[in-house]
Every structure is written in structure tokens, then in C-alpha cells.
């Protein structure tokens, strides 16, 4: 019997099982049918990509200031260029752009601060973001104080309005949603039935109907001269609508926590709010991240519906620009731009939520 006391030294994987060629062989060409499909797929991709690149980059016109600068063979990005500041700020007066810029800068700084784990004072920044920032942003954007000229809300628009609607909707919907979800699971009959009625009402009505009611019907019921600003009406409608959806997402998360957790907490003598705040919610919210982010993304895209009540969000201002007789016929460029902007925001939200899930993962994941 021969014993080999030495371990065989580690060897690289056999040639032909690593490297890009091997990857291609095992994933794309591992058999005649798969090879055929790969080639077919490449051909379809070729048919799609080449004309797109040709249109969007090679034949495109980039510089100029009017439609005469566009050959109309490829894309006319001159249109986007000429209208860019309008797409960002809407019809906000251009000499006041600096005010919107400050708000933008604060907004993105606060988000970055909250999102990057290394940065300190999270609690204070959060308090500032939720309490002081909305006031500062309102004073800056609306004006009327400190010698700032007033800019009425029907001049707000573009990306600025989209972000405003989305962030107010998100920040408003989350706490209302949590309260509604807890209320729906409550054992108190009045609280419970109120929450059920509220959720089922708002979930049962299309958002477009709510916005129409807010803009067409509501003014008729209010005494004249007591008109509520249409942006405020849209914000309230959007927030209440989203909070109903949010409540159901949160309720789903709450139900996934085993009953033993709450019973154990109760056995320790914890009050209701302590049980919820210290035991149930931290576990549940973590599991709800995909659902919550899903709701946020759909809210972000739903904001375009305010277009039908005459507010110029990002998509609305693009459409308004398309109806300028000096720029007729560039709808494709306009819509591609709007789609790209929406994709940037939705994709970053989705990536951040994946990162958050990994970070908070404490073994619930299977």
C-alpha cells in the first residue's frame, strides 16, 4: 500500500474551463440550438442598436439654438439644450434660479449624508431634513420673506416639481402608512374600522380620479376667495393615496413577524408602543424595504399624472415645450430625455435599496 503523505499542490483549473472563451462556450454556445439562439439574439440586437446609435449620436445635431440648426436626419439635441433649464426649473423666473439651486444643493447633500454610512450626526441631520429643511425650502422657493420676490406655485415645474411631489409624497406617506397599518391590526373596533375604510377607499379609487376631484370638484365646494393652491391640493391627494398603499406594504411586513415576538415582549412588561418601537418595527421595516422602495418608485412615476391638472412636472414641461410652434415635431427627443431622467432616479433608488438590504441583512434572508 502506498501512502502519499504530501498533499498534491493546488493547480489552476484546466484550460478550457476558465477565461472568457470558456464562459462563452458554457453560457452561449453549449449546443447547436443554444448557439443558434445566441446568433439570432445578436442579430436582433444589431438591428436595434445600430440605428439607435446612428440616430442618437452619429447623425445627431448637438449645437445651435433653433430648429434651423437641426438637419432632422438624426436626433436634434439642440431642442433639449435650448429648453434644458426649463425642464429642470419649469417656468420659474430665470433670475431666481439661484434659489432653486440652493434647495437642490441642500436636497442632494441631505440625501447623500443620510445614505453614506461613514458620515456622523445622522440623527441631527435627519431632524434637520424633516423639520428645518422643508421650511427653508418653502421660504426659498415661494419667497415673500426676506425681500425675496414671491414666485407663485403655478410657475414651479420641471424636475424640481417632480422631486418636490415625490419627496413630499414619500415623507408624508410613510408615517401615515405606519399609523394606518398599526390601526388596521388594532383590536379597538372604531380605530380598526376607520383604518380599513380609509385604506380601502383610497386604494379603490384611481389616482387620476383623486387628482381630478381635487382640481375640478373641490374648488366648487369651497367658498370663493378661499381657494386652496392647486399644488397643495395635488400634494394632499398624492400623499393620502400613497399612504394607503404604504399601509398595506407595512401590514404585510408586520404579519411576517412571528406572534411569539410580540408575546415575549409583552411578557417582559413592555407597553404597546415599546413593543412596536423596539421589537416589531425594527424587524418588520427591514423586511419591507423592497416593498417600500417599490411603492416609492411607483410614486415617483405617478407624479407625472399631475400633468392632467395643469401642473408642469418633468413630463408636462416637455410636452408644453413640444407645443411651442418654433419647436414642433421634436417629440421623440423630448420623450427620450424625459424617460432618461426618470430612469436615472428610479434606477438609483432601486440600487440604494439593494445596498440597504445587504447592509441590514441579519440572516432573515433565505
Amino acid at each position: 500500500m502506498i501512502h502519499n503523505k504530501e498533499t498534491i499542490p493546488e493547480q489552476p483549473a484546466p484550460k478550457g474551463t476558465i477565461g472568457p472563451i470558456a464562459w462563452l462556450r458554457s453560457n452561449l454556445f453549449n449546443g447547436p440550438i443554444n448557439s443558434l439562439f445566441t446568433l439570432l439574439g445578436l442579430y436582433v440586437l444589431y438591428l436595434l442598436v445600430v440605428p439607435t446609435v446612428q440616430w442618437a449620436f452619429i447623425d445627431a445635431d448637438w449645437v445651435g439654438s433653433s430648429r434651423e440648426d437641426c438637419s432632422r436626419v438624426g436626433a436634434c439635441w439642440v431642442f433639449i439644450n435650448a429648453r434644458f433649464s426649463q425642464f429642470i426649473y419649469g417656468l420659474y423666473p430665470s433670475e431666481e434660479y439661484w434659489r432653486a439651486n440652493i434647495v437642490f444643493a441642500m436636497f442632494f447633500t441631505l440625501i447623500a449624508w443620510m445614505a453614506i454610512p461613514r458620515l456622523p450626526f445622522k440623527r441631527w441631520v435627519a431632524i434637520f431634513a424633516l423639520i428645518a429643511f422643508p421650511v427653508v425650502a418653502f421660504v426659498l422657493l415661494y419667497g415673500g420673506y426676506f425681500d425675496l420676490p414671491r414666485v407663485s406655485t403655478n410657475r414651479w415645474g420641471g424636475l424640481m416639481l417632480t422631486l418636490l411631489l415625490a419627496s413630499v409624497g414619500m415623507i408624508g406617506a410613510l408615517p401615515i402608512g405606519i399609523v394606518l397599518a398599526l390601526g388596521r391590526r388594532s383590536s379597538m373596533p372604531i380605530v380598526k374600522s376607520f383604518c380599513i375604510i380609509f385604506i380601502e377607499f383610497w386604494r379603490g379609487v384611481p389616482l387620476i380620479t383623486i387628482l381630478f376631484m381635487a382640481s375640478v370638484m373641490l374648488p366648487l365646494f369651497l367658498p370663493s376667495g378661499m381657494g386652496v393652491d392647486r399644488l397643495v391640493r395635488a400634494l394632499i391627494g398624492l400623499t393620502l393615496f400613497q399612504s394607503a398603499y404604504m399601509a398595506e406594504v407595512i401590514r404585510g411586513g408586520l404579519q411576517a413577524i412571528p406572534k411569539g415576538q410580540e408575546e415575549a415582549a409583552a411578557a417582559l412588561g413592555m407597553t404597546y408602543w415599546k413593543r412596536m418601537g423596539l421589537i416589531i418595527m425594527p424587524q418588520a421595516l427591514k423586511m419591507m424595504i423592497p416593498g417600500i422602495v417599490n411603492t416609492f418608485i411607483s410614486l415617483f412615476k405617478d407624479t407625472t399624472l399631475v400633468m392632467i391638472i395643469g401642473l408642469f412636472d418633468l413630463l408636462g414641461i416637455v410636452q408644453a415645450a413640444l407645443s411651442d410652434s418654433r419647436w414642433l415635431g421634436f417629440s421623440l427627443e423630448g420623450y427620450v430625455f424625459a424617460a432618461f431622467m426618470f430612469w436615472i432616479f428610479c434606477f438609483s433608488m432601486s440600487r440604494y435599496s439593494q445596498y440597504l438590504e445587504r447592509k441590514l441583512n441579519t440572516g432573515h434572508k433565505q
Partner: protein, 341 residues
């Protein structure tokens, strides 16, 4: 149908409430002077009528009505708060007081004038349903279109007008229906139909979007009446007069040859019509609660009707719509303003 009835009911209920309230409030003119801005409802973007330009300023023939009212009332044509409204909410916005003038390519019809608690103040643009054909077809009149394939946008009165006209004249047509105006143009361009029909103001905008605008022409025949004009609430006759005469002042100015360039020289004019219009002879603004130079302000800041037409929809604009029946009565059209005296 039920929805519409319900809405109409709510609207009338609303206007009754409003009528009750308005006595307790200041007049529209006082409110406007207080706030320093004319609250003007415009469309959410219609080429040549109201759309924001590259600098975010509203431009268009409808917008010029708002500017004229602001110039007459406040002496500053820029003192306007534009509120963009869609087709459904436009009347509610006016009834509820959110806007004081609605200048949004609104067709003057009996129903709208008599049941909504509103008043039409005049006609800024006589529109009508027209036809766009390819020049290769060699067609010069609607009556030659028997048996043609016609592209239409669905769900609009355009479809009904077309059917009415063709059956009344004992002609056949093959309707090709599309959902949006962009699809309609696409269908026309792809050769799915020989003819595209829509309001003439729309046709001009659609024609520009063709790959070869020169290859198509808009027939001069129209088969429906679409008089578009500004609207105000009932119950404030002073404001009604102001909006009405702001438009009349622009038309009178064109008739007497006064425009934004020569208005200062015209102040010296011997012509009594011009002297009365510009407030040099008598004070016709006073009765409306305005300054004597109300019309001077309109003409110097906004221009006369012809200037506004040419700049926004006419030959100086990309739309290049012919004046046609929108020409003054002295030039063979039907635009006619009562005299200032």
C-alpha cells in the same frame, strides 16, 4: 353620459353658490388691482395659441388677450399670472374664481354660453374644420374628395362633422381613425390616407411636423364653425366689458392703422376715431373703471390684432396660417369691432 350630467349639476350648484357669495366680495377689477396681476387661464400647450417659449414666457394669440387685459387694467402687459388648464377643468376654474379670464381656444357654442354661467366676450380666431392633402393629388376643393381615405383623430367632434358633411353632400369616405394627433400625422405620412382632417389651426401645426411640409397643402374650404374666444364669469358686467373692449381695441387699432410702432406718433393724429381710441379725445376708459389711455397701453405693449395674429399664427410665425376670414371686414374678412365713441 351620467358623469357629464352629474358634473353639469355640480357646476351649476357651484355657480349658484358663487353668485350668492360674489355680492359680498369686491369686484373682479378691484381684486385684480389689489393683487397686481390678471389671473388668466390658458391651455397646457397649443402651438400658436398658448405655449411657453425658450425663456419660459407664454406666447400665443390667446396669451395676447391676457396681456391686453393686463395692459388695459394695470398698465403692464407682463402683470399676468398664467394658469394652465386642461379642457375639463377650464370652466370650473373660471367659475370658482381661480382665473378671471379664460383664454384657451374655447369654441363659442349655445350650451357653453347659456348653461355654464359664463359669457363669451368676442372671437379672437375663427377656426373651422379643414383638410390637408398631398399636393401630388391635385385636389383643390373638398367636393373632389368623394371616396377618399381620410385620417381623423378619434373621439373629437371632427369625426361627427366629417360624417355630417359627407352624408349631406351625398359623398362617401373611408375613415382611418387614430388616437393621438401624432399618430394621425404618422398615418398620413405613411400613406394610409389621402387626406387628413382637423381644425385648420391644428392642421398648420401638424403640417410643420411632416418630413416634407412643402409637399402638402391645406385646402381653403372649411366644413364647420369653431369661433374661439375669451370667456369671463357672468355677474360682473364691468369686467365683461373690459375684456370685450380690450379685444375690440386691438381690432379697431388695426382698422385705423395704429400699431405698436407708430402709436406714439398717432397720439397727434387728426383722425377723430384714433383720437377717441387713444384717449386724446374724451375718456372712454372711465366708464369701465380704467385710465383714459387704456387702449394706448394695449397697442403700445401688445400691438394691434393684425400684429398679434401675424406674430403668433400668421405669416411671421412657423405656422403660416392665412388670415382668411380672420381678416378685418374692410379687407374681406369678418373680424368687425364696434367703434369707440
Amino acid at each position: 353620459m351620467l358623469n357629464k350630467k352629474y358634473l353639469a349639476l355640480m357646476v351649476s350648484a357651484g355657480s349658484i353658490t358663487l353668485a350668492g357669495m360674489s355680492s359680498a366680495h369686491a369686484t373682479t377689477l378691484e381684486d385684480t388691482i389689489d393683487s397686481g396681476e390678471v389671473q388668466c387661464g390658458v391651455s397646457d400647450g397649443l402651438p400658436g395659441f398658448s405655449a411657453p417659449d425658450d425663456d419660459g414666457n407664454w406666447q400665443g394669440i390667446d396669451v395676447d388677450v391676457c396681456r391686453a387685459v393686463a395692459a388695459a387694467v394695470l398698465g403692464d402687459s407682463e402683470a399676468v399670472n398664467y394658469i394652465s388648464l386642461n379642457a375639463v377643468e377650464r370652466f370650473t376654474a373660471l367659475q370658482s374664481g381661480e382665473v378671471d379670464v379664460l383664454s384657451r381656444n374655447t369654441t363659442w357654442t349655445t350650451t357653453r354660453d347659456t348653461t355654464l354661467g359664463l359669457n363669451f366676450t368676442g372671437v379672437t380666431f375663427y377656426d373651422g374644420q379643414g383638410f390637408m392633402v398631398s399636393k401630388d393629388l391635385g385636389v383643390s376643393s373638398v367636393d373632389e374628395l368623394d371616396g377618399a381615405a381620410i385620417c381623423i383623430q378619434s373621439g373629437t367632434t371632427t369625426e361627427l362633422n366629417l360624417a355630417d358633411y359627407f352624408s349631406a353632400n351625398d359623398m362617401e369616405f373611408d375613415p382611418i381613425v387614430f388616437d393621438t394627433s401624432e399618430q394621425t400625422v404618422g398615418g398620413y405620412e405613411a400613406g394610409r390616407c389621402d387626406v387628413l382632417t382637423s381644425d385648420t389651426s391644428q392642421l398648420a401645426a401638424l403640417r410643420i411636423q411632416l418630413d416634407d411640409p412643402e409637399g402638402s397643402e391645406i385646402l381653403s374650404d372649411v366644413i364647420s364653425k369653431e369661433p374661439l374666444g375669451p370667456v369671463v364669469r357672468q355677474g360682473d358686467d364691468q369686467w365683461f366689458n373690459i375684456v370685450k373692449w380690450s379685444l375690440f381695441a386691438m381690432m379697431n387699432a388695426e382698422e385705423y392703422g395704429v400699431d405698436s410702432e407708430n402709436v406714439d406718433e398717432m397720439l397727434e393724429s387728426e383722425d377723430p376715431n384714433i383720437a377717441r381710441l387713444l384717449g386724446e379725445d374724451g375718456n372712454y376708459g372711465e366708464e369701465m373703471g380704467l385710465e383714459a389711455d387704456w387702449a394706448y397701453q394695449i397697442i403700445s405693449q401688445v400691438g394691434n390684432y393684425g400684429e398679434s395674429f401675424d406674430r403668433n399664427v400668421g405669416m411671421d410665425s412657423p405656422l403660416e396660417i392665412e388670415r382668411g376670414i380672420n381678416e378685418l371686414w374692410t379687407e374681406g374678412g369678418i373680424q368687425y369691432a364696434p367703434p369707440v365713441r
